[in-house]
Symmetry: C2
Subunit: 338 residues, 2 copies
């Protein structure tokens, strides 16, 4: 019988907590430790921190990453920040501890065009230590890139790839509703966009992955972030958006050819009160083909799923920086034996 | 600069011809030969046999497989029969010639449960000769298995997997309309089902792939083939189906647990005059999620696409018998350089 996979949860925010709970469900995984700098979480039991009904788990949350990494894990599940620059040292420490990494860091999903130096550094470190890492989740990692490329398998020729994701943020957690600017005036919204405070991270990375994989000659990647203005009052459990206020984001990333032709178009509408949430992919070429997920894939649930399902896959992958594109599909049944 | 991929087309029926034409479009592929026993095709130019507008191609169709295999190809695209037993010798000869294989043989797509001895023999031979082979296409190979497993990546737990493929056979070629029994009386249809003449091959293979990959405890795989009876007269370019006659097949494969619970349900409705053709996948679990391809993926176009898109992937795969599940997604742009 094989041993259980020894996993460390790095970052115990809302996503990290849902990942930890999902890992706890998998017979083949043993969570051996967690890392979080927040004094409200550090030195406590992970099960208690995530509010698990079967707490305590006997799993410690360390404030010092190295103490956790010294436990000799097989894989680190990393969920601390969207910014690759900010998490470089965290990732390098995990690689040096010879741990594979599955990270929710959006900018890690496909950094080869956007941050090639950091990508090269991680790839070299991973190969040096004989481990593999991947940045993934539902978006980037699935809806607007991997699923687009999967559908492309039935295409003979592709001229343009589009994805539209409409998310109703009403049912989502407060930090997410705030992150998309719900309840701000349009002016405040634009100010916060300029300050970099309102932004879904990862669309340019998905554009790059799609363009490179489909061999579409994208030379420039542009991105716009506009408010989705409420046409009527919307009240959620946490906040109220008045008519005329921002209800959320309407963000579009475009991959353009040298002469400005739109080859890749990835559009995210995430706002409270969204009608008909869904994920839709449209490929123009031979043949034209589209695909819809009615209701859309639920952001937090889907991200935790994709991340945990990627664990056996990254453990099997060749050393280096991998992407959701390169990896075979993964599904990790709760009852899968170690 | 890398060399072009040297490919041989084995079998030049309708599917083989459309694969050959698609390969001809790809800059990175050089078709070096073809194989077909049909005296109407053998010893002729492949471009002329497939009716290409740019014929002749200077590519010979051999009646003797070994003569073609002696040309030292990298990959054989094999499209001769749905029956694995019938094509074993063909496949073994290709492996012995150290060619990778992408085959449309439906029973090869996932033979580990249905024909384990043949699967083991092919796997051993492929490993002995250091090459890889895969059976794939649109169904099996994509709609009812790979796409199901791809969608499963956003699931935390799956209780049941369903796929429904509705194909309007009106626009398809005559051999396909005949193969599905269009225009037969219901009695004739049942007689031909009993004789094994009417059957879409590959559903049990897809059930097995889905069950094994999702770790669903399927013990028995059953299959039913019923006529889809025309509720009104339908005329196609080739034939007419009167009201009350069979318009095509309604075929269901089920993966059942020990106690008879339906864990996998794959349903194919392929008939002339089908309304609302589409491919739909439904996963029950946490969360429930579904996906639809409106119009459905076109059988012949999609099969040729999937097969040709699998060529670079199989050349990169470890030696042995592979499945569409194990392989990363492939898309092979016409302009991709060798």
């Amino acid at each position: 019988m094989k041993k259980k996979i020894r996993a460390i949860q790095y970052g115990v925010g809302p996503i990290g907590a849902s990942i930890a709970k999902l890992m706890r469900d998998k017979q083949a995984i043993e969570i051996i430790g967690a890392i979080d700098l927040d004094p409200a979480k550090a030195e406590r039991d992970l099960g208690e921190v995530v509010g698990a009904s079967d707490a305590p788990w006997g799993v410690k949350v360390f404030a010092d990453p190295q103490q956790a990494l010294d436990l000799n894990a097989d894989v680190v599940i990393h969920a601390t920040s969207s910014s690759l620059a900010k998490v470089m040292d965290q990732l390098l420490a995990c690689l040096e501890a010879q741990c594979c990494i599955v990270s929710t860091c959006e900018e890690l999903s496909y950094p080869f065009r956007t941050q090639p130096e950091l990508a090269a550094k991680l790839d070299a470190a991973a190969k040096e230590w004989g481990v593999a890492l991947v940045g993934t989740g539902v978006n980037p990692g699935f809806v607007m890139d991997k699923l687009v490329l999967t559908l492309a398998a039935v295409s003979q020729r592709i001229e343009q790839a589009k994805a539209l994701r409409i998310v109703d943020a009403s049912q989502r957690r407060l930090p997410l509703q705030k992150k998309i600017g719900a309840g701000l005036s349009v002016d405040e919204f634009r100010t916060q966009v300029k300050a970099g405070a309102i932004k879904h991270v990862g669309l340019p990375e998905s554009v790059a992955m799609v363009a490179d994989s489909l061999n579409l000659p994208v030379e420039n990647i542009s991105e716009t972030i506009e408010p989705k203005v409420a046409s009527e009052r919307v009240a959620t459990e946490y906040l109220t958006v008045e008519k005329g206020q921002a209800a959320g984001v309407h963000q579009i990333a475009r991959g353009l050819s040298k002469d400005g032709k739109e080859l890749v178009h990835l559009e995210l509408q995430m706002y409270v009160g969204a009608k008909d949430p869904s994920d839709t992919i449209t490929l123009t070429g031979h043949p034209n083909i589209s695909l819809t997920i009615p209701g859309g894939s639920h952001g937090d649930i889907a991200t935790a799923s994709v991340v945990v399902n990627s664990i056996p896959v990254i453990l099997d992958a060749p050393a280096g920086l991998r992407t959701s594109r390169d990896l075979p599909i993964g599904f990790f049944s709760p009852s899968a034996k170690p």
